[in-house]
């Protein structure tokens, strides 16, 4: 087991710079998820850790050793690819044992280790089959088997669940989590799915356009997002974002279309006289105005999405829109006039220009 240190890592393709000095420290045994939209550089960073991409600037160290010029096979890592990259002409057994064979492990030891890994992943009955004869979920298990059989220092996962259907994805998430709990090996995991990131990670690194936006625990990135991008990227349905301006005495928030709201339960002194963006999670939007801690606003239901256990509805308030998660019993209808209670004490405030979070005084 080992930690991974990424220091000021830069990646350029010709003149195009895709990673602009990323710093990231993965502790020994930690499960770190790199998450971000397509093209943010997360897979490139993972491939640089693996040694499949060269490093233009900066340093990557695995277990304290700088690996910048070390070929992949000497880094003692294992990687699970998005397309699994199973050798189609080899049996599952040979796929799993390939890395051991290349490293000169004896036949009897390979057999023991492959059977042990196959046992853990419940794929013993598939060992004689070829990858072409397996389902997507089974291939995924074999790809993980190939990775764990060598007991490497670090596991790297490159969007491993993106080719699976929703149910299988949920199942495999559990499997991956179990594997991490069982082996305690350091994992760096790339995904664009924020649910995977939230459910799996010890810490999440959120990236955008080759920059690290925030690095923290799932609780930190969800409850204390560093900026507007992180706030809107993490959470489903996404956080409601409403541009607004705050009066000089911080007593009145002016919403788009000139609607003035007197905030309850939030000390907006830090936002006084500024143009801001209010970020409010859907769970902090309620129906009714009985709760004195909530700020009431009136609007009209624009969209209703019943999900069975809850109903998501978007309410138009002037030019602003708020999506909330409501009880199905509320019986919301399209076009219905409603009053919403906004829990502004739970809201996030961002600078309208920079998008950086404004921390309010408690």
């Amino acid at each position: 087991m080992a930690g991974v240190e990424i220091r000021q890592v830069v990646k350029q393709y010709g003149r195009v710079e895709v990673l602009h000095g990323v710093d990231l420290s993965v502790r020994d045994g930690e499960f770190v998820v790199l998450v971000g939209p397509s093209g943010c550089g997360k897979s490139t960073l993972l491939r640089m850790i693996a040694g499949l991409e060269g490093i233009t600037g900066g340093e990557i160290a695995i277990d304290g050793t700088v690996v910048n010029d070390m070929p992949p096979r000497e880094r003692d890592i294992a990687m699970v690819f998005q397309d699994y990259a199973l050798y189609p002409h080899k049996s599952v057994y040979d796929n799993m044992g390939f890395g051991l064979r290349m490293r000169g492990t004896s036949k009897s030891e390979i057999e023991t280790l492959v059977h042990e890994a196959a046992d853990i992943l419940q794929i013993k009955h598939l060992l004689e089959r070829r990858p072409g004869q397996l389902s997507g979920g089974q291939r995924q298990r074999v790809a993980m088997g190939r990775a764990i059989v060598r007991r490497p220092k670090v596991f790297l996962f490159d969007e491993p669940l993106s080719n699976l259907d929703a149910q299988l994805r949920a199942e495999m998430r559990v499997e991956i989590k179990k594997l991490h709990q069982r082996f305690g090996t350091t994992i760096v995991y790339v995904t664009h799915d924020q649910i995977e990131a939230m459910t799996l990670a010890d810490r999440i690194a959120i990236m955008k356009d080759g920059h690290l936006q925030q690095y923290g625990t799932p609780d930190e990135v969800y409850n204390r997002p560093a900026n507007r991008f992180v706030a809107s990227f993490i959470g489903a349905p996404p956080m409601n974002m409403t541009p607004a301006s705050v009066s000089a005495d911080a007593q009145v928030i002016r919403l788009p279309s000139g609607m003035d709201v007197t905030p309850r339960g939030a000390n907006l002194a830090a936002c006084a006289g500024r143009d801001i963006v209010i970020g409010l999670r859907p769970e902090h939007v309620a129906l009714g105005h009985d709760d004195p801690s909530r700020t009431p606003v009136s609007g009209q239901v624009e969209l209703v999405e019943p999900l069975g256990s809850e109903t998501q509805a978007t309410v138009r308030v002037g030019d602003a829109r708020f999506t909330g998660r409501f009880s199905p019993e509320a019986g919301l209808k399209h076009g219905q006039d409603v009053t919403l209670g906004l829990a502004l004490d739970r809201a996030h405030f961002f600078d309208a220009e920079t998008g950086e979070a404004i921390r309010l005084a408690a």
Binding site: L52, R73, M79, A85, P88, F98, G99, M102, R146
Partner: protein, 313 residues
């Protein structure tokens, strides 16, 4: 308990009579394939049929007064006892045995080279296509000049490095070697094109996985490239073998089968029998024998391609 007996409930299936629409569609379908069928009949089926008929006749244009009597399998019997038939067949087998693997090895090398991430790819690809685009006889003439005793570039190089000149085209063994070299040069680019297409279907991630698994470049070639290329190699080998059975132009242009009959192929012998000696009956029997061998090879190819190449990979 509710049980279900599939044998009892199996409905008796009787083909339903065709509706008017289905009948007219069937007629239209037949009408559409008729031109292609007529063309194939004219250029393939009829000549083969005529060849089979002629091979059972005594038909020599040098003895027209004998007519064209039916002789059954006499021409075939004659072929099987004809020393020159066996000699030319053996020569053909030698060309197949040497030039097919030779072209695959050279073609694989060229394909691997062309598959490298060169910035400018067209010179490599053009270099690859050029020998293929050249007419066979032209290639034969070029190599005849290369291996020519006095002015040939090969002997010039041998002299330049201090070795004696060799009688490339007049020594039976050396002539076979020279012809094999010419055939390999001419045909390896076709093999390379097939293998290049095969190489480009191998996902890059397999090499990356192998690299992480600890495989060296050579191990990646043995463990990934070669097995993944197997279907392409087999297709190339079969195509190459079918054309190698019919080897004619290059030895014809380089040695015309000489010295003696030492470099003569079966196709050249058929050509000589029918065109030079005007013995159409016997020549046809020889051609049928060659056709049967080609057919067996083609059948092997068709049988192979029925399988799913990805599963085979």
């Amino acid at each position: 308990m509710l049980t279900f007996d599939s044998t009892k409930s199996k409905p008796t299936t009787k083909p339903l009579p065709l509706s008017r629409l289905e009948k007219s569609e069937r007629h239209l379908g037949l009408l559409m394939i008729l031109p292609a069928f007529l063309l194939l009949f004219a250029v393939v089926l009829f000549p083969i049929g005529r060849l089979l008929v002629t091979s059972t006749q005594r038909l020599s244009l040098t003895e027209p007064w004998l007519g064209t009597p039916f002789v059954g399998l006499d021409n075939y019997r004659e072929a099987l006892t004809d020393a020159r038939f066996w000699e030319t067949t053996l020569n053909t087998v030698i060309y197949i045995a040497v030039t097919v693997p030779g072209a695959i090895v050279v073609g694989l090398g060229l394909a691997l080279l062309a598959n490298q991430p060169f910035k400018i790819k067209w010179p490599v690809r053009l270099g690859l296509l050029l020998p293929w685009a050249l007419p066979l006889v032209f290639a034969g003439l070029i190599f005849r000049w290369f291996f020519e005793f006095n002015q040939g570039i090969v002997n010039n190089i041998l002299m330049w490095v201090g070795l004696p000149k060799l009688a490339w085209l007049t020594d039976p063994f050396l002539a076979t070697v020279a012809i094999c070299i010419a055939i390999i040069w001419k045909t390896s680019s076709f093999v390379a094109l097939i293998l290049l297409a095969g190489l480009q279907t191998i996902p890059k991630s397999l090499y990356e996985a192998a690299e992480i698994d600890g495989a060296s470049k050579w191990q990646q070639f043995i463990e990934i490239t070669l097995p993944m290329l197997r279907p392409a190699i087999i297709v190339a080998a079969i195509f190459r073998t079918i054309t190698a059975i019919q080897t004619f132009d290059i030895p014809y242009a380089m040695t015309n089968g000489g010295p003696g009959n030492s470099t003569e192929t079966l196709a050249m012998y058929i050509h000589k029998t029918t065109i030079d000696f005007l013995d159409l009956g016997y020549g046809s029997a020889l051609a049928v024998l060659m056709f049967v061998v080609s057919l067996v090879m083609t059948a092997g190819y068709l049988r192979y391609t029925r399988r799913d190449p990805r599963q085979e990979a």
